[in-house]
């Protein structure tokens, strides 16, 4: 698995969202494993199908 600096990534993302450093400090303990989890998902890209988001035309009867 590609090594990532989960702490820096988490801090930067939360800072980009406008959260204060004090708030970020309270979130990091949970944000770090979340970022690591996201990296695990990124490793799967080559084998993943299209997302479960396919738009269906309004009024189409579901199958």
């Amino acid at each position: 698995m590609v090594e990532i600096d989960a702490t820096t990534i988490a801090r930067e993302r939360l800072r980009a969202a406008g959260l204060s450093d004090a708030t970020i400090a309270t979130l990091l303990e949970r944000a770090i494993p979340l970022v690591r989890g996201l990296a695990e998902l990124a490793e799967l890209d080559a084998q993943l199908p299209e997302p479960a988001l396919t738009w269906r035309p309004l009024g189409e009867i579901d199958s």
């Binding site: 993302r13 949970r30 989890g37 996201l38 998902l41 993943l48 199908p49 997302p51 479960a52």
Partner: protein
């Protein structure tokens, strides 16, 4: 019937007596309201009571039934709603301070369908704030206590609904599930909790947590009762863009078909040695019961399910934070600390993360669908542990968060993620007397087979007949 017998009867037991006018909806409702008045100060199962309206509705039900206008098995039966279902004229708080004074002018679809079925609404149940937590320890409305041991949690977010049903405060409650918020409270409180197929029951008028994960479903004291409630609330609804247009054939009538020959898939690598020993022992005994009923256990492997927790969390966090983006910016201090933190955590996620998680979702769903071509059902312990101490809070639950590994939490998150129907039924008690639950899941829109096995198991055991040690 004594008052406790009346309060703890099932819908299937009480309904024919109501229909034959052996017992009046007024009497039944009075017994339930009396119990709520006595027990709710201890349990905090309800945020808002609707006693006056319930008495009036019960009198109307009595008149209708006397006039021969019987609506069905829910007519005159007291039920409750998790406080995220819009209820016209009754405040609907979402367990929050932000919506503390919000009184909707129209009903959610499920509220309306229950009223049309003649059910008597006795109150709005306590819940984890905005359905975004797993303990029903709520800083705004108090902590909901487990009727089996008052110092234990009910789990969440449908904790009030589970406690109400377990304690005889109504015959059914409508909960909701985004992660596992019907089934874990059901397991912790020793009741049945059904999460139907995504789209089987309308979400219109349900305060959203995560739109693509939210499910409405009943908590009851028996599988047959869950089927009765599902039959009343399921079916197409043009006001919910995710509601399936498939007709919802009644499932209650299918419950007593034979289960011999059903192939039940056991994803053992996700729970063997990974759950509380009492939970594993109870589950192993349940598998023996399934075999005695003629079902065929088959070990299955679901390696992709190792990613269910992180995929579900990514989708959930993204959608919930999107829902709350304005409030969290303008009124952060009006949230409880745990929910505020969880919403803020959603800002860690990018659009690419969300789309990728939805690709993982489809990838996992494909594996589950393929497996359900080789077996009829998937069965596992509902949750790795029994009810934990309130004093320990969320930490006592020991939920791992976002691990990517084989483990029971992936199974716990799986069914809401892929949208297949799943029910939790009581399957035993721990040495301390705390309930244990097992989950049965099946193919999309095949609630009938899921509930058929659940009913057969329930009738072959006596767990559902036990009552918590309340006054």
């Amino acid at each position: 019937m004594t008052a406790p017998d009346l309060a703890f009867a099932s819908i299937a037991q009480i309904a024919p007596r109501i229909r034959r006018r052996e017992v009046s909806p007024v009497e039944v409702t009075a017994a339930v309201l009396d119990r709520i008045e006595r027990q709710n100060p201890t349990l905090t199962a309800f945020i808002t009571g609707t006693a006056d309206a319930a008495r009036a509705a019960a009198q109307e039900a009595e008149r209708e039934i006397a006039a021969g206008a019987y609506r069905g098995p829910l007519h005159g039966v007291p039920v409750s709603l998790k406080d995220l279902y819009l209820t016209a004229g009754v405040r609907t708080t979402g367990g929050s301070r932000i919506l503390a004074d919000d009184v909707p002018t129209e009903d959610a679809t499920v509220t309306r369908r229950l009223r049309e079925a003649g059910a008597i609404l006795v109150g709005k149940c306590a819940m984890h704030e905005f359905a975004y937590g797993t303990t029903t320890i709520n800083p705004h409305y108090g902590t909901t206590h487990n009727p089996w041991k008052l110092d234990r949690i009910t789990a969440g977010s449908s904790g009030g609904s589970a406690a109400a049903v377990a304690a005889g405060l109504g015959y059914a409650s409508l909960g909701s599930e985004t992660g596992f918020s019907i089934r874990r409270p059901a397991a912790f409180c020793g009741v049945v909790g059904l999460k139907p197929t995504y789209g089987r029951v309308s979400r219109f008028g349900m305060l959203p947590a995560a739109w693509s994960l939210d499910h409405a479903g009943p908590l009851t004291r028996s599988v047959e009762d869950a089927a009765i409630v599902l039959d009343a609330i399921a079916g197409p609804d043009q006001r919910d863009p995710a509601a399936s247009s498939r007709p919802a054939p009644g499932v209650a009538a299918e419950l007593r078909r034979d289960v011999a020959g059903l192939r039940i898939g056991l994803p053992r690598h996700h729970y063997v040695g990974l759950v509380d020993p009492a939970v594993e022992a109870a589950f192993d005994a349940a598998v023996a019961t399934f075999q005695a009923l003629g079902a065929i256990p088959v070990e299955v492997r679901l390696p992709r399910v190792a990613y269910a927790t992180v995929a579900s969390s990514t989708i959930m966090f993204s959608e919930v934070t999107a829902t709350h983006a304005r409030w969290i910016a303008e009124r952060p201090d009006d949230y409880g600390a745990d929910v505020r933190a969880r919403i803020q955590l959603g800002f860690c996620l990018s659009a690419i993360d969300y789309v990728r998680a939805q690709r993982v979702r489809r990838w996992i769903a494909e594996e589950v669908a393929a497996t359900l071509q080789t077996v009829d059902l998937l069965v596992s312990p509902t949750t790795p542990q029994v009810a934990t101490p309130i004093e320990g809070g969320l930490a006592a639950l020991g939920d791992p968060g976002f691990v990517v590994a084989d483990g029971p939490y992936n199974l716990l998150r799986l069914y809401a993620l892929v949208g297949i129907p799943a029910v939790s039924v009581p399957c035993g008690f721990s040495p301390e007397g705390l309930p244990i639950g097992l989950s049965i899941a099946g193919r999309a829109f095949d609630e009938a087979t899921v509930l058929r096995l659940a009913h057969a198991y329930e009738q072959a055991t006596e767990w559902h007949q036990r009552r918590p040690p309340l006054a």
